[in-house]
Symmetry: C2
Subunit: 240 residues, 2 copies
DNA sequence: CGGAATGTTGATATGCCTCAACTAAAGTGG
DNA sequence: CCACTTTAGTTGAGGCATATCAACATTCCG
């Protein structure tokens, strides 16, 4: 079923049965992407929006010297480029992190749905606003926190979001990043990312090996990362 | 007249005469704020949204140790807390930067307008998406650029946005920040902010004194800041 | 007039980046 | 199947840049 999208929206928005029905009628073209493969490129003017079906995708910007800055990561149910519904040109790229499966939904179909069912439009609007809240937090995290706290906060957010979406068992979740990804997301060098991760290991609160994030001591991790989940505006069922 | 809002939206969205008419019928309560005074606080659950009428407001987050991280700054016509239309609780604060005048519009009135005139809803949605694009760029800027480039980019954005909105004469615009604001926006210490500004002065491309940003050499400034305005999705009339 | 806020400068230390080397694992092709 | 390459993770060394601390000048404001 197509239920992944309506499940996602119902986490934060109340939908009428008719809304759900119409959502489930939305059709998409499913595509598979290999690690690091682009779903959309900076400068593209897509007429479809992507929904993550499996795996993880990342939004990033390429810098003049060839480096890359990751902006956010997305899991099944997320709409990593919903903004392209109303903003013509992509100001960043979206790529697969590990293997990922993505559905491409024509803008036309979504916009038509908004016309018939404004509530669905509001739900997706809310979705994009939650996205923006995550960006704001990333500004704060990458600007104001030291490496150890910064990485801890990053892991907290990831685990929390996976728990909300029931994509994580208790204490661990898939997180198919390399340490290079980590560094490029957190604005630190690879070496620092590596040593920061080692510090977190020694503090015995978290680990990240082979694409799996293991939370050993949630309370301590959240304290180190100064993590307050209120900006996510979503309640996680249980964390420890 | 209330035209400040419809002028703003028409920069990026096509509105029908009826849309404009209804927008101009929106009424707000105007309020004045002194420097640093809060318009909305983190944790608030406002039932109004703010529109900047005069001066500048900033969005910020308070950190556990008392420091502050600014996330963005807004000028006349901006809606610095439009997200509160669909997200109950404020995950950040909004405060005046210098003296500012703000209009408070009841959510109810805006939502009613969306129902009658969906196009207006889409225009404000687009507005919030442009906001998000600015956050993304801030993530990149504060994470990946060295102090000199970072501050240059910040000044570029500010000048560009002021020019788009015709709130800046050629070569300078009001920017009522202190160096402390600068530091807290760019994620650097006050001392570094001061010395970075001095470097930019010596490069003879920009200055910031007494709340006025003076662009002496736009091309050089944009080159130093690696500034590419495409993420703003708005064309500035003339910069030099 | 006095006190607070703002901008500026110097000195010091440390933490992060860069460079470099190496291991282990995974993927590739002959 | 094994040699070879590539990618990922790890460690050490060294230098520089940024944070911190401290002091002072200037302006603003009450």
């Amino acid at each position: 079923m197509h239920s992944v999208l309506q499940q996602k929206l119902q986490i934060h928005s109340k939908l009428a049965p008719e809304d759900v029905k119409r959502l489930d009628l939305l059709s998409w073209e499913a595509r598979s992407y290999g690690n690091n493969q682009d779903v959309v490129r900076q400068g593209d003017k897509p007429d479809v929006s992507a929904i993550v079906l499996q795996g993880m995708v990342g939004r990033y910007q390429s810098l003049p010297d060839g480096r890359r800055q990751y902006i956010s990561f997305h899991i099944a149910g997320d709409l990593p480029d919903a903004q392209s519904l109303f903003i013509d040109e992509m100001d960043h790229g979206v790529c697969a992190v590990g293997r990922a499966e993505v559905g491409l939904i024509p803008h036309r179909d979504i916009l038509d749905l908004f016309e018939d069912r404004p509530t669905v439009g509001f739900a997706i609007w809310r979705e994009t606003l939650l996205d923006a809240a995550i960006f704001r937090e990333a500004v704060v995290n990458n600007s104001a926190r030291q490496p150890v706290a910064r990485m801890a906060h990053f892991f907290c957010e990831r685990y929390y979001r996976a728990r909300v979406r029931k994509l994580a068992e208790l204490g661990s979740c898939p997180f198919p990043l390399t340490q290079t990804h980590l560094a490029e997301a957190l604005g630190m060098s690879i070496v620092t990312a590596n040593r920061t991760l080692q510090k977190l290991r020694q503090l015995d609160c978290v680990d990240h090996v082979d694409g799996v994030l293991s939370v050993r001591d949630w309370e301590r991790l959240a304290a180190i990362g100064e993590f307050n989940p209120s900006y996510l505006h979503l309640r996680a069922p249980r964390l420890v």
